[in-house]
C-alpha cells in the first residue's frame, strides 16, 4: 500500500478530519450514539489549537440545527451532525435551513428508528426537507465528502445544505487507513465561504403571506406566486447535479480520488445483463459479490448510488437502456409505501419506451448484517429476471445470513 499521510481511524474521526480540513467556523452538536465521538474529536482539535471553531453545546438537536442555521446566515461555515432519533428531532429547523438556502453541512451517522443499529430511515425521513443527500461506503469517502460538500453547498449556483450519511457502527466505529489530504491543497480547493447577504427574493415573504396572490401573476414579474418558494427550491436542487459532478471531477484531479460521477458510480456494468443498485456500506460489500459472480462468468454489475437527492434520473435512464433488469437494495422502508430507492428508480424509468424490469430488496434494516453471499443471491435473482425467467416476489425482504 502506498504511504502518503495515512492514519488508521474510525469513520467518526474521518468526519472530524473533514471538518478540520474544511476550516469550519461554527459547529453545534448534541451527543447521540453512534455519532457522539465526532464532537469529541472536533473538541480535541479545538483544544489543541488545530482548529479555530466555535463549538456550541446545545440542549438538543432542534437547537443545534437552529444554531448552525443562524451562524450560516451571518456568514460562518457551519457543521452539525446527528444520528437516528436526533435526526428526527431536528426535522423542523432543517426546513428553515434549506428554505434559507444556507450551505450547512451535516453528517448523519445512520441509526435506524427501530433500535440502535444502522439503517437509512433516519436520513430518508428527511427527504422532504430540501437537503441534498449523499451516502458513503468507507471512511475515506466520509472525509472526502465533507470537503466536497462545502465546495458544492457554497457554490453560488447551488446554495443548499448537504447531508452526508454513513452507516453507524459499520463505519462510525470501524478503523481503517484513511489518507489525510494536505491542508494547503484543501485550502486551494475550498476557498473561504463567501456569504450572499440577502439571498431571498424580496417578494418571497410577501408571497408567503398572501394567499391567492398568485392570480396576480408570477412574483418574478411583479406579482406574487405563493408556490414560488417551493418551485424555486425544488428546481435549485434538481439543478445542483451539474455542480455536484463538476466538484467531484475537480476533487479527483487534485486529490487522485473521485466517486463515480459524483451522483452514481458504475462498477463492472459494461455488458452487464443485470445490475444491482446499492447505497452506503452495502455498496462496498456488493463489489466483492460482483467480483465473485463475474469470475463465474455471470454478467452482473453494480451501481453505487451516492447522491440520492437530487435523484440521478438521467444516469439511470441511460443505464435502463442498456440493462434488462435492475435490483434495488433498500436499507430503508417508507412504511406503507416501500423502499425509497425502489420507488425513485421506477419513477425515473417509467417513461422509457423499453424499460428494464425493476426488482426491490429490503436488506440491512435495523442493522441486519448483509453478507457477500446475501448480495450474490439478490444479483442472481436479478440476472434471472434479466433473462426473462419468472421471479417472485418482485419486492422481497431479503433473507439474510442463511447457510453457504
Amino acid at each position: 500500500m502506498e504511504h502518503k499521510n495515512f492514519e488508521v481511524m474510525t469513520g467518526n474521526k474521518a468526519c472530524a478530519w473533514g471538518v478540520k480540513l474544511s476550516r469550519v467556523q461554527v459547529a453545534s452538536i448534541y451527543p447521540v450514539t453512534p455519532q457522539t465521538t465526532i464532537g469529541e474529536y472536533i473538541a480535541e482539535f479545538i483544544a489543541k489549537g488545530e482548529l479555530n471553531c466555535e463549538l456550541v453545546n446545545a440542549e438538543g438537536e432542534l437547537s443545534t440545527q437552529a444554531i448552525v442555521k443562524a451562524a450560516s446566515r451571518v456568514g460562518a461555515r457551519t457543521f452539525v451532525c446527528t444520528s437516528g432519533p436526533g435526526q428526527l428531532y431536528m426535522h423542523h429547523p432543517m426546513h428553515g435551513t434549506s428554505s434559507g438556502r444556507l450551505p450547512v453541512v451535516m453528517a448523519t451517522v445512520h441509526r435506524g428508528n427501530k433500535g440502535m443499529q444502522p439503517d437509512h430511515t433516519d436520513l430518508m425521513s428527511q427527504l422532504w426537507t430540501g437537503w441534498i443527500q449523499w451516502y458513503c461506503e468507507n471512511n475515506q469517502e466520509v472525509l472526502d465528502s465533507v470537503i466536497m460538500a462545502y465546495r458544492t453547498a457554497e457554490d453560488k449556483r447551488v446554495r443548499l445544505p448537504i447531508a452526508i450519511g454513513y452507516d453507524g457502527y459499520i463505519l462510525s466505529y470501524t478503523s481503517e487507513p484513511v489518507e489525510i489530504p494536505d491542508q494547503a491543497m484543501v485550502d486551494e480547493f475550498l476557498p473561504p465561504y463567501e456569504p450572499i447577504p440577502n439571498i431571498l427574493p424580496d417578494k418571497w415573504a410577501e408571497a408567503q403571506t398572501r394567499r391567492g396572490a398568485g392570480m396576480m401573476g408570477d412574483f418574478m414579474s411583479g406579482g406574487a406566486d405563493p408556490q414560488a418558494a417551493w418551485r424555486i427550491h425544488h428546481e435549485a436542487i434538481l439543478n445542483s447535479k451539474g455542480v455536484i459532478k463538476e466538484v467531484n471531477e475537480e476533487f479527483g484531479k487534485r486529490f487522485g480520488r473521485k466517486y463515480g460521477n459524483g451522483l452514481v458510480e458504475e462498477y463492472r456494468t459494461d455488458d452487464a445483463e443485470a445490475v444491482i443498485v446499492a447505497m452506503g456500506t452495502i455498496a462496498s460489500t456488493a463489489r466483492v459479490a460482483i467480483d465473485r459472480m463475474r469470475s463465474e462468468g455471470k454478467p452482473v454489475g453494480l451501481v453505487k448510488l451516492k447522491t440520492f437527492v437530487p435523484f440521478p434520473t438521467e444516469d439511470f435512464q441511460e443505464l435502463g437502456k442498456r440493462t434488462r433488469a435492475i435490483g434495488m437494495i433498500d436499507r430503508n422502508v417508507c412504511l406503507g409505501l416501500g423502499g425509497a430507492g425502489f420507488g425513485e428508480l421506477r419513477r425515473a424509468l417509467y417513461d422509457l419506451e423499453e424499460r428494464p424490469r425493476i426488482l426491490g430488496f429490503y436488506a440491512g434494516l435495523a442493522g441486519a448484517e448483509v453478507r457477500v453471499r446475501d448480495i450474490e443471491k439478490m444479483a442472481e435473482k436479478t440476472l434471472k429476471a434479466a433473462r426473462g425467467e419468472k421471479v417472485e416476489p418482485i419486492i422481497e425482504w431479503a433473507k439474510l445470513g442463511g447457510g453457504e
Binding site: 478503523s175 463489489r287 457477500v372
Partner: protein
C-alpha cells in the same frame, strides 16, 4: 486476507487491542479493518472485535464469521467452546490462560498457545487489563506484525509512562509465550454460564466468570453499616442476620464493595482457574 476475532470483557481493552493491531499492521504496509462489536456497554460483559488484514483495501463490510485466528483476552472466556465457532480448520487460538497450552481445556482441529496475560498485566500495569500483553503473544506466534510495530502503535496511542508500561507488558508476553501446539483438550458440549435471574438487567447470565478477583468478607471487622450492600452495582450483595451476604453468581468482581467498606472488612482475592 487474514481474518481475526478477539474475545474479551468490557474493560479489558479488546477494542483498543484491535485498533492497535490494525495500526501496527498498517505501519508494515498492510491494509487493516478493525471492527468493534458493541452491546450494552457494561464493564465485565463479553465483548467481541474483528480484524481483517490484507494487501489491498478490504471492501467486505460484514462481520468476520470464519476467522483464521482467535485471540482471547480473558481466561474464563478462553474455556468456553463458543470461542471456536467458525474457526477455520487448522486455525490458531491465542489465549490468556494461566497454564501451558498442553492444559488448554478445549480441543479440536486447531493450534493453540497460551500466556498468563493477567499475571503480566498485574505485574506491569497493576491492573488486569490484558489487551496489550496479549498482543506480544500475537506478534510472537503469528509473525504477522512485528513486535516493534505494536510498540510503536501503543506509544502513539498512549504517549508517556502509560505507554511504556504497556510496552513492558508486550515484551514480557512476547518472551513468555510458547510455540503453539495441536490442541489436545476435549471440547465440552455446552458453555457453562447458564441464565440467571437478576434485578435491573432482566434475565442475565452468571457473571461469575467475569472476575479476576473475588471479594471476601471478614465478619469480625464488619459493623453492619450496609454501605457495601447499597453500593454493589449488580445487586450481588444481600442482607441477612445483620450482615452482608454475597451471591457469587451475580458478583462480577468490580471491587466497589472493597473500595467502599469503611472498616476494610471486604478483601479482594485472586480467582484461580
Amino acid at each position: 486476507m487474514i481474518e481475526i476475532r478477539l474475545h474479551g470483557r468490557g474493560g479489558q481493552g479488546a477494542v483498543t487491542a484491535n485498533e492497535i493491531l490494525a495500526e501496527a499492521a498498517y505501519y508494515e504496509g498492510k491494509y487493516a479493518q478493525a471492527i468493534p462489536m458493541y452491546g450494552t456497554e457494561r464493564r465485565g460483559a463479553p465483548v467481541t472485535a474483528f480484524l481483517r488484514l490484507d494487501e489491498v483495501r478490504v471492501r467486505e463490510r460484514d462481520l468476520v464469521h470464519n476467522p483464521d485466528i482467535v485471540v482471547v483476552l480473558d481466561p474464563a472466556i478462553a474455556q468456553r467452546p463458543s470461542i471456536l465457532e467458525g474457526l477455520k480448520a487448522g486455525g490458531l487460538v491465542i489465549a490468556n490462560y494461566p497454564h501451558p497450552p498442553e492444559r488448554f481445556p478445549l480441543g479440536g482441529n486447531f493450534r493453540v498457545t497460551t500466556v498468563d496475560a493477567t499475571a503480566i498485566a498485574l505485574e506491569t500495569l497493576k491492573r488486569p487489563i490484558t489487551n496489550t500483553a496479549i498482543l506480544g503473544a500475537f506478534s510472537k506466534v503469528t509473525g504477522l506484525v512485528k513486535v516493534e510495530s505494536i510498540e510503536k502503535a501503543i506509544l502513539h496511542r498512549f504517549p508517556g509512562t502509560l505507554g511504556e508500561m504497556n510496552v513492558k507488558a508486550v515484551r514480557m508476553a512476547f518472551e513468555r509465550t510458547p510455540a503453539p501446539i495441536q490442541a489436545v483438550g476435549g471440547v465440552k458440549e455446552k458453555d457453562e454460564e447458564g441464565p440467571l435471574s437478576g434485578s435491573g438487567y432482566g434475565l442475565i447470565r452468571s457473571a461469575a466468570g467475569w472476575r479476576t478477583f473475588r471479594p471476601v468478607w471478614n465478619y469480625e471487622k464488619c459493623t453492619g453499616c450496609r454501605i457495601c450492600w447499597i453500593f454493589c452495582p449488580d445487586n450481588a450483595i444481600g442482607w441477612g442476620e445483620e450482615r452482608p451476604t454475597v451471591d457469587y453468581r451475580k458478583c462480577k468482581g468490580c471491587g466497589i464493595c472493597v473500595n467502599e467498606c469503611p472498616t476494610k472488612a471486604v478483601e479482594f482475592k485472586r480467582e484461580e482457574i
